[in-house]
């Protein structure tokens, strides 16, 4: 009897011990079979590169650079003088059109959160590639170069919308959750460093017809813009020249072909999701009968074009309904799927480099060179030489040309007026809701609540 009791006791003890020891395997849950851990992704170049591709897809769909109505191509068009928005109270463009953004505006938090989410992904590519033993040096350069370009690109748009912002360079959430805002010149220094690293790491050009991967040319193109915004004119002109001179790869297209996916003018574009789908820009801006469901081009913008400007005839479409005429952007023409995709969303294109160099040249006193670059774009649009002669005239003509060339493209108009200090004088007459403090977006309320280091709020909110 006593032995049975002892055996029972022993078995019980073993069971209890087993139960305690095996607890770990109950607590640790394996990843679903369809997911790979971070380290596994970087065991193989194909998966690591697919992870990188996913960032481009995310940029195309979400946040500032998305061609959908939520992106800045539309919203900054509303915010400035390019677009008119339907007064429907549920229209997400309305707060932008009224220049009445609030710290709680969902779209504003969306820009912030999506950008930092994409930056997190870029940082995790860099960290993963760095730590991997399986990838070759060349492959690591490829991954790191593209990821660091993305990081610079997104911080560029963040600093232009929000002013001083944190510059995030790691995936460490403990550190990042208390990140402080960096003064704008410091943010720009880091952007320049990131873009220069991207130029060192990436090949000159991928030479494929798709142009869906940022290469050295893409980093150069963005860098020349950054230089221009910061008054570094010789550097801006040099960077622009290096692209303009690479005419084996990049040349200006006819007005009709600029936004085709095969355009030789494109430096970097975002591939559409599936073969046959076209751009989100086209599906958002296009309407076939009035009144416009969302937004339409402002009369101010449409009437500012010379009647013979090919951009007016080719990039703007007129819709007449019941005696009233509206206009929508028609740069991207395919608002429905086609057998094979015909258009991708273009982020960087060569014509900007001409206008960057024109401005940089004019500001350095090279007026002849500036006019040469300016007229290059005017001729392409079917216009005669610019009548501008003096430096101020040429600079005004360049700004005007940028307005015609880049309307509804990633907020060029807003950023130009902002960097030239012309927001108040240009917008206060046309926008009833415009205030000087609208030059910066509000920091999202959720950010100020969760990270005290981001306080105080931007002025005016």
């Amino acid at each position: 009897m006593k032995t049975i009791y002892l055996i029972t006791k022993f078995i019980l003890l073993v069971y209890i011990l087993l139960a305690i020891l095996s607890c770990d395997s109950f607590v640790e849950v394996d990843l679903p079979k369809s997911q790979l851990t971070n380290t596994a992704v970087f065991e193989d170049y194909t998966t690591a590169d697919a992870a990188l591709t996913d960032i481009y897809a995310n940029i195309r769909e979400n946040g500032m650079l998305s061609g959908s109505g939520y992106g800045i191509s539309n919203q900054l068009g509303n915010y400035t003088d390019e677009l008119i928005c339907n007064q429907n109270s549920t229209n997400t463009s309305l707060p932008f059109y009224n220049n009445a953004l609030l710290p709680s505006t969902t779209a504003v938090a969306g820009y912030w959160n999506s950008a930092y989410n994409q930056i997190y992904a870029a940082n995790s590519i860099m960290e993963g590639a760095q730590a991997s033993n399986a990838l070759s040096g060349e492959q690591k350069k490829q991954l790191t170069g593209q990821a660091i370009f993305i990081r610079g690109l997104l911080h560029f748009y963040l600093v232009n919308l929000f002013g001083d912002v944190p510059y995030i360079t790691s995936t460490d959430y403990k550190k990042n959750s208390t990140a402080s805002r960096l003064a704008t010149p410091e943010v720009y220094k880091k952007i320049i460093l990131d873009l220069q690293s991207a130029m060192d790491l990436l090949p000159l050009s991928y030479g494929d017809s798709q142009r869906v991967r940022p290469d050295m040319a893409a980093a150069t193109a963005l860098l020349s813009r950054v230089y221009l915004y910061n008054g570094a004119y010789p550097e801006a002109a040099n960077a622009a020249s290096s692209l303009i001179n690479a005419d084996m790869v990049y040349t200006l297209e006819d007005v009709d072909s600029v936004f085709l996916k095969t355009s030789k003018e494109t430096i970097w574009q975002l591939q559409s999701g599936q073969s046959g789908t076209n751009t989100l820009e086209a599906s958002f801006f296009t309407f076939t009968s009035g009144p416009p469901p969302q937004v339409s081009l402002s009369d101010d913008l449409v009437n500012s074009f010379s009647p013979s400007d090919l951009r007016k005839t080719s990039w703007i479409k007129e819709i007449t309904n019941g005696g009233i005429t509206w206009y929508h952007p028609y740069k991207y023409k395919q608002n429905n799927p086609t057998p094979a995709s015909r258009e991708y969303s273009i982020v960087l294109r060569l014509s900007e480099q001409y206008l960057i160099r024109a401005e940089a040249r004019a500001l350095q006193g090279d007026l002849i060179g500036a006019r040469e670059d300016l007229d290059k774009l005017r001729h392409r649009a079917g216009l005669a030489d610019s009548p501008a002669v003096t430096q101020p005239q040429i600079l005004t003509a360049i700004l005007q040309e940028r307005k015609w060339e880049f309307f509804t493209e990633q907020g060029h108009r807003f950023f130009d007026l902002k960097r030239l200090g012309l927001l108040d004088s240009t917008l206060s007459g046309v926008k009833a809701g415009w205030n000087t403090t609208d030059r910066l977006f509000p920091i999202p309320q959720t950010e100020l609540s969760t990270n005290p280091n981001l306080r105080p709020q931007n002025p005016g909110y």
Binding site: S104, Y116, A121, S177, T446, L448, S449, R455
Partner: protein, 324 residues
């Protein structure tokens, strides 16, 4: 095409631990006069700490939530009281009354580092979890027609978070019900009153002036200098001052409304028709729901204050039930 993402769906947290719940409960049941008066009294205290929750984190991390243990202790205490009395029994007239009453209390007992945590603008030590930190509305400026608020720190501007510090407790103070059943011969009357004492935040759907519906009360708005109105001027959204005023109002005690109510939730009258046929029954019924509500709340249903959805309906049903 491989679908691989560097966007982890969530952040990895290696430091998970068990949540701790401590429960203490006491109850007393008493019956008097052969249970004609029957009471039960219960008291509970639940303390949970180290809760595993989605903690909001700044978007600059790339994410907005982190699954982690929260080093805070929350205490839920409450008293539940119920009383049933048989007022009349035995005769053709029967009357039973049941009363229940709940007095819940929630409090944040401890939260080390609350001040520097993401919750610094959400919770206060010792207060309920269901609080709101609000701006204090001073009223509408009769000259500009824009809402004005208390400048708590006196810096000349309404700033977050310094001026958004008024604590409003939104949890119910008490709630319960009283049910009565009266029977006289074949006739039965049953009715239930519900009551609830609570404050809630009710903000308009959007700024008055944009194309959307508004509560009728907003027709009493400021229109010209000198007006003393409870609501500010209408704006289509082009006036930044009005938009900001409206935004601050939505986060102020101007939206704090007393949504307490007493409501006749159910009433039913039924009559068993006396039939001489063997095994056959006939019952005639009349029922009503939400027939009467007593409340100070004027902008809709106090029980259901969300916009855009149907509140509890007032329903009246009549029926005949035949069993054979």
């Amino acid at each position: 095409m491989m679908a691989i993402s560097a966007f982890s769906p969530r952040l990895y947290n290696a430091d998970f631990g068990w949540e701790v719940n401590k429960k203490l409960e006491m109850a007393l049941e008493l019956g008097f006069l052969q249970d004609r008066i029957f009471t039960s009294l219960a008291w509970y205290q639940n303390r949970s700490s180290n809760q595993l929750v989605g903690i909001p984190i700044p978007g600059s991390t790339g994410f907005t939530l982190l699954q982690a243990n929260l080093d805070a202790t929350v205490q839920n205490t409450g008293v539940e009281l119920s009383l049933r009395t048989l007022n009349f029994t035995g005769g053709p007239f029967k009357w039973t009354t049941s009363v229940n009453l709940t007095l819940p209390r929630t409090a944040l007992k401890s939260f080390p580092g609350l001040e520097s945590s993401p919750y610094s603008q959400q919770y206060r030590l010792g207060e309920s979890l269901n609080i709101a930190l609000l701006y204090k509305l001073k009223g509408v400026n009769p000259q500009t027609g824009i809402y004005e608020f208390d400048d708590v720190n006196g810096d000349g501007a309404i700033t977050f978070p310094e001026d958004q510090q008024y604590v409003a407790d939104l949890s119910p103070k008490y709630y319960g019900g009283i049910q009565n059943q009266l029977t006289y011969k074949n006739l039965t009357l049953d009715f239930l009153f519900q009551f609830n004492r609570q404050m809630n935040l009710i903000s308009p759907i959007g700024p008055a002036g944009v194309m959307s519906n508004q509560p009728q009360s907003l027709s009493d708005s400021w229109q010209q200098p000198g007006d003393a109105a409870p609501y500010q001027l209408y704006s289509t959204g082009a006036s930044s001052a009005a938009v900001t005023g409206d935004y601050l109002f939505s986060k102020s005690d101007g939206t704090l409304k007393d949504v307490s109510y007493i409501r006749l939730k159910n009433i039913s009258l039924s009559y068993d028709v006396p039939l001489s046929l063997n095994g056959t029954k006939c019952k005639v019924m009349l029922q009503g729901q939400n027939l009467l509500t007593f409340t100070k709340y004027r902008d809709g249903d106090p029980e259901f204050t969300s916009y855009g959805f149907l509140p509890p309906l007032r329903v009246i049903t009549a029926g005949v039930q035949l069993t054979f």
